[in-house]
Point group: C2
Chain length 296, copies 2
Amino acid sequence: MNIKSYLEEKRLQVEKTLENILPPAEGPLADHFSAMRYSLFAGGKRIRPILAMAAAESLESDPAPYLPLITGLELIHTYALIHDDLPAMDDDELRRGKPTCHKIFGEAAAILAGDGMLSYAFELLSDRDLTAGLPDEDRILIIQTISRAIGPKGMVGGQALDIANEDRKISFETLRFLHSCKTGALIRASVQTGAIIGKAGDDQFHALSEYANRIGLAFQIVDDLLDVEGNPEKLGKSTGADLARRKSTYPAHLGLEETHKLARKTVEDAIDAIKSFDRNAEPLREIARYIYYRDS
Amino acid sequence: MNIKSYLEEKRLQVEKTLENILPPAEGPLADHFSAMRYSLFAGGKRIRPILAMAAAESLESDPAPYLPLITGLELIHTYALIHDDLPAMDDDELRRGKPTCHKIFGEAAAILAGDGMLSYAFELLSDRDLTAGLPDEDRILIIQTISRAIGPKGMVGGQALDIANEDRKISFETLRFLHSCKTGALIRASVQTGAIIGKAGDDQFHALSEYANRIGLAFQIVDDLLDVEGNPEKLGKSTGADLARRKSTYPAHLGLEETHKLARKTVEDAIDAIKSFDRNAEPLREIARYIYYRDS
């Protein structure tokens, strides 16, 4: 299979769904909707919803009817980026090569664009008409899985830990815990969302969760590598930021060579976790490889 | 009935539930949990969960088994307060007589405390074990009702509109729309949560929603009045802030006397909306009256 065309096809499905489900920038709340739309349509690989789709497909389930729910994952990811970029947090001016939300709309509007997007994600998740056919029990399980992943013991907790330790050298153990919360939890929840849609059995759910844990880790390691070795133009952001902030990273802890080795090993572990799956899991396997060979 | 002892009894139930369901400030994320706990336990009348309880009771339903879900409403209210108080928003230093979250924990930690609390509310709402016995369909309807109420077309949208118009004179119509989003929507969703728990029929659901719309309005009008006439010590915040910010308020639009008249009329309208309910709705009626006669 050609992973690039697979990713592109799925990405376009996500774009189309987002376009359909987001409120147009009209009416008295037009400015607020504009800020949300600006950040959502500023590019992005849409990897989280694609992972959910690929996970459902690995179980021979068609994710298409559930796209409005699945794209809720992208809203959550975008909300997190908007808040991470804020002056009080990472104070980033560029994201995907474009000015960050608060640079265009101001800080208050950016905080609220993130807040609105998070709530809107739960509107999409809980809308029984928009994604009819999903059993109520599964819908609740998806909402619980996602909300746990992104809450104080997940993504937000990880970001809080990251901010609190910005100028400190942290242990390798703490670094791993931080990443498993900050980036790993939503990636895992994305794969699990697809697993629930695909009616995974216990063993399958466990295998897919293991796969997700490992690609989440690989994703972070490669992010750290790209900050050292990446091409700023392709990345759409400046590199060297982690170093400048004296952030704890994998290359800082392990050196570049060992970090590359770890990234490749983690990708192989991810593929190994779903070795009992048949060829329907090929997209998941290719996504795992792609994470290491991506350049942005 | 004695409304003050009713409110106090319910408030204590909410406090106890919050104490049980919030993560203790321990472990690597202790600081994050501390910031959440600080704002949640900084006082508060807990009026939103109490409204949900009173609405369920008005339908002869016992809300006690659903308290962990119901207190999710208070987490959402507190998240909104933390974000509203931020320097980029209202820049408030005091809330309920205590330093605001960002004054104690810093801006980044306060944004994240709000974010974490919002996600945690959805964890509570979607936890089928914590509030067993609620039919899945009703649980999903509650999640949808709340997420719609607090999202870009509800509470967050209202706050965005408020911030955007801070130094501008807005029409009376826009003011009403703003309030119905910013404060009205969550109050309505609170009453509707109780209505769903109490298995309201269509007419009952409609009546309770009307009641909620009116007390939501009354609440805002009285807030505006308290900012002019209230006792700063009892309120736990300084008064005159709206005037200083040249905010559009009911007194600014109608004058004090007419605003008082409107507040009383709105309370009567709320009581009228549930006139077909029996004595089990007495707490709802008393809460409506209490809104006008409260002093903080």
